[in-house]
């Protein structure tokens, strides 16, 4: 079996060097899509018949919530790969994903509250969707806290990977909560198996924003992973050389 490529992928140094090349492209593509999406969604998409302009928060709320959920799987799967293959890089990715996911979850909760006041008449209710989303926020914070709670880095890696894996059960609960129980939050607008209940003129900017958020997530996760790699590997020869040459170039 040629697992060699897989193990090479696990080398922080290899990742750091390879990612330098595609990082600017990723960032440029993300910013382009986000700019197009936000101008399109906020400036040109028609207003909603019932909600007026307040619906436009969907262009931030839905992509942020998408990535908060998808990002949890990225974090948990990275943790699982780290546990099984004892791969350094995947634990670094897991640690890097936690604060990004926490911020996205917070953005989804905050924009939801801002939208909820004019729409529902309240900022916050304890329904299944909102409560399970709040649990997701605490899970992200828990992974962050646990990964930093050990003096041995490897212990923090393992403990927080286990927590991240146990927490995965929350993701389908968040996703299906609006179908399984009576909630104040409405069911999903974007559907996989049937037609979405949003007008095409509002849908295209939304899908642009979602694609933009995915690229933005990949960009920020790569940047954060690279920063954590340098932090972890500062004793190694290649990081010392990298730092040495760059400070020499500056001086």
């Amino acid at each position: 079996m040629s697992w060699q490529w897989f193990h090479r992928l696990g080398s922080p140094r290899w990742f750091y060097q390879k990612s330098s090349a595609w990082l600017p492209w990723l960032g440029a593509a993300a910013l382009l899509l986000l700019t197009v999406g936000i101008v399109w969604g906020l400036g040109f998409a028609p207003e909603d018949a019932k909600q007026g302009n307040s619906y436009r928060i969907i262009y931030i709320h839905v992509p942020a919530a998408f990535l908060a959920l998808a990002g949890y799987y990225i974090m948990a799967i990275s943790g699982a790969i780290g546990l099984i293959w004892k791969m350094k890089l995947s634990f670094v990715v897991m640690r890097a994903a936690a604060p990004i996911g926490a911020v996205l979850t917070f953005v989804a909760l905050f924009t939801g509250a801002v939208w909820g006041k004019p729409t529902w008449g309240t900022y916050w209710v304890w329904d299944a969707r909102i409560t399970s989303m709040l649990i997701l926020f605490f899970l992200y914070l828990g992974v962050m806290a646990l990964s930093g709670a050990f003096s041995r880095e490897q212990s923090g890696d393992k403990a927080s990977a286990l927590l991240a894996l146990v927490g995965t059960v929350n993701i389908p609960i968040i996703y299906k909560s609006v179908d399984w129980w009576f909630t104040l939050h409405q069911p999903a607008t974007l559907k996989l198996t049937e037609a979405s209940t949003i007008d095409p003129s509002m849908f295209y900017p939304l899908i642009t924003m979602i694609a933009g958020f995915y690229l933005f997530y990949a960009w920020v996760l790569t940047l954060h992973t690279r920063a954590l790699i340098l932090q972890r590997e500062w004793r190694t020869q290649w990081v010392r050389e990298l730092m040495g040459t760059s400070s020499a170039a500056r001086g």
Binding site: P46, T119, G121, L162, L165, W181, Q186, M202
Partner: protein
């Protein structure tokens, strides 16, 4: 795959599976508390306690909104397609509250079989349409009185 890795893989899969089953059982046991509100048919079936703070949700029955002349009281009925529930409220209704739209009310079930609400929330549906498109649509009311709103 290396036997040690295989073993760790099995442990990880077991961890996820067993924790999911555990949470699944807890959620199943608490299923009645997971609902944010009772449907009007639950009131008709006598499942809702009197004089306890509860929530009810359903579609506002078109033509049922009646404002009291002498007080701030407004009466309306909500339905889930099977039963109707009378609601009395004396505060300001949210902007999106309308006939044929879903609403969630918080209050106490009174002896007369109606709910005196101290909070009414509008429940928005999942459809988004521009005003021009909405005008051409035959059925404006998005809430069809389904049991699952």
């Amino acid at each position: 795959m290396h036997p040690a890795r295989k073993q760790r893989l099995i442990l990880v899969v077991l961890l996820v599976a067993l924790s999911s089953v555990a949470v699944g059982f807890v959620t199943y046991a608490m299923r009645e508390n997971m609902d944010f509100f009772y449907a009007p048919s639950a009131f008709a079936a006598g499942e809702v306690p009197f004089e306890k703070r509860i929530r009810a949700g359903g579609c506002v029955v078109p033509g049922s909104i009646v404002r009291d002349e002498a007080s701030l009281d407004v009466r309306f009925a909500i339905t889930d397609g099977e039963a109707e529930l009378e609601v009395v409220f004396d505060k300001i209704l949210p902007d999106l509250f309308a006939e044929g739209e879903a609403a969630v009310v918080t209050g106490k079930l009174q002896q007369g079989g109606y709910v005196r609400a101290d909070q009414v929330l509008a429940k928005h549906d999942e459809s988004y349409t521009p005003p021009e498109v909405a005008e051409t649509m035959v059925n404006q009311a998005s809430c069809q009185g389904d049991a699952k709103i």
